[in-house]
Symmetry: C2
Subunit: 344 residues, 2 copies
């Protein structure tokens, strides 16, 4: 019997329909392996093919916009939003429009064309988190922006247009609809219970121990109760933390390690699937501090969103999160020794 499940945050119902069920091996990994790096604008030596760098980690203090970097942040050459100008909201008859003001940046996570996030060193993964934090803190100063979204598209089927591993960041002049839905949903829960729904979810996941993938002393990685997609995986700080950019220095290695280990498990279980991840944090003006809790949502691209999903906003998911968590927990991967990963 299929089961409907409700996401407690935005109120989204999900159909868990195991009769259509798939094991990970039924999903084909469609990620193209890397080929050409000569013409890649994200490769060292081709810095002039991109806009000038906003931030770069250069261990040997090499010159900006030259090789020698280990991580590089640039403006998107084809931005969805532009940094210049004002919002200019206006009406067009019954319709409304405004200018596309915002920031759109690219975080080039490694100089090595053929490496993905699962291949880089723990130190490089920490640098990726450092770069996310650095850019958030800097962009918060621009008074026009109300939200900063960090996201990653890995693989062509997940919307990546360049194969060299990179994340993106968008700063927007309005709080996105999806974030408002989460804050409103979490706010209703808070209004009734006076507790953060994300904190309660983490507590229940730890107690049930049915959907946890891995955890360490500060973070947990689990399959949500009502996932939209097979192997959808969330990472949250265990303690209440509204804003990502308030992450403490000592937690960065733990966050880098849980994110990388979760990605490694997904890559191994699903044969390098294309995926998206997004980082949801509080809006810049700092409201929703009691009820909101920042998190990462990882969404492997294994199924197609079709008419039913578009028409209803419901998602049909052929894999239970309990099964997915089991697969991911049992996968053998190589992990560095230095950070203890307390498998639940």
């Amino acid at each position: 019997m299929p089961e409907l499940r409700k996401d407690p945050i935005v109120g989204r119902w999900v159909i868990i329909s195991t009769e259509r069920g798939k094991r990970p091996s039924d999903f084909s990994g469609t990620l193209k392996r890397k080929t050409e790096s000569k013409l890649c604008p994200f490769c060292p030596g081709n810095e002039s093919a991109t806009p000038p760098e906003i931030l770069a980690f250069r261990p040997n203090s090499s010159e900006p916009n030259r090789p020698g970097w280990t991580l590089r942040v640039i403006s998107n050459k084809y931005p969805a939003l532009r940094i210049e100008g004002d919002l200019n909201r206006e009406g067009v008859g019954i319709f409304d429009k405004m200018n596309g003001v915002g920031a759109h940046e690219v975080i080039i996570e490694t100089p090595e064309h053929e490496k993905d996030l699962v291949d880089i060193s723990p130190k490089q993964m920490e640098d990726v988190i450092w770069a996310y934090l650095n850019r958030c803190i800097d962009l918060k100063k621009d008074r026009r922006f109300r939200y900063i979204l960090i996201f990653k598209n890995q693989g062509e089927a997940a919307g990546a247009s360049l194969e060299h591993s990179h994340s993106q960041l968008i700063a927007t002049p309005i709080v996105p609809k999806r974030v408002i839905e989460e804050i409103e949903g979490a706010g209703k829960y808070y209004g009734y219970k006076e507790r953060c729904v994300f904190c309660d979810m983490v507590k229940q996941e730890i107690a049930d121990n049915e959907r946890v993938v891995i955890k360490n002393s500060s973070y947990i990685s689990f399959e949500p109760f009502a996932p939209r997609f097979p192997f959808e995986t969330w990472i949250l700080p265990i303690k209440h933390s509204p804003a990502f950019e308030d992450t403490k220095k000592e937690d960065i290695p733990l966050l880098a390690s849980i994110l990388q280990e979760t990605l490694k498990r997904l890559a191994k279980a699903l044969n390098n699937p294309p995926y998206n991840y997004i980082l949801h944090t509080s809006p810049i003006d700092g409201y929703a501090t009691q009820e909101y809790h920042w998190h990462i949502e990882i969404m492997p691209k294994l199924t197609r969103v079709a008419g039913f999903e578009w028409g209803t906003g419901f998602y049909i998911n052929p894999t239970t999160p309990e099964d997915a968590a089991n697969y991911l927990k049992e996968i053998e991967i190589s992990t560095p020794d230095k950070i203890p990963s307390l498998k639940s």
Copy 2:
């Protein structure tokens, strides 16, 4: 300069970013052409491979579940929802779940394996609309259902698992989130203006005449002001009509013809793209009669939904609806003479 546009119904913001702009020829049609019909469960002669028929049009009064039909409706063999049982809502700690009760039917639109909706005769297209209406009216009698969604996935990339042309219908025990969002958005507009937002939209589209594709005496086909996807096209009754199932007999040929002609224009302009369409109508219990207006949303599958869309609920659309409407209007297609299509 990219432009943000707000859908007046659900409040969804869309980024119109023409610098990433694409002409229709840049989008590759990825629809696989039809091959095997011997093993197709939807082909005449293979009726026993499907659940028994719920409805069939048999011009020569042939026996049920045998060849001789021109259109056939069956239960989905792998239903997302099941017709038996009760809802049984219950809590699991802080989470909520309920049984997946509902109906999930398949409308096989033609016996001919190699034909799509753009290839069938006007009479067959009318039969498709008749079948939609018939099933809606029948399923409304089941008191457990609160909503009926008709939708179509055409082409593998749009989620079609069988290539023989078919639509689907799902009856759900709760009103879907996307429909509630539309009704709430339309309700806010009605509360302020005391007019239906869809009616106002149709009036403005006719007056502006910038985004209209085609219209006839009862229906209009246009690109919405804030489309999520390139060449997203909506079809609405011109007069206020909350519920699809109240469509008058004399309007059926007009609806069949505008839907088929719109699909033909999209197929020709975009080289047979994969697409989804959905039909949004009022919930079964008939609320929202003043503010809601049924409609079809056609969404060609030309771009990928990626991290940005998942994270924000905003969509990045590389084609303006004005450009898309122009392409579609100018395309030469063959249309039957008998139904006058008043090009706007």
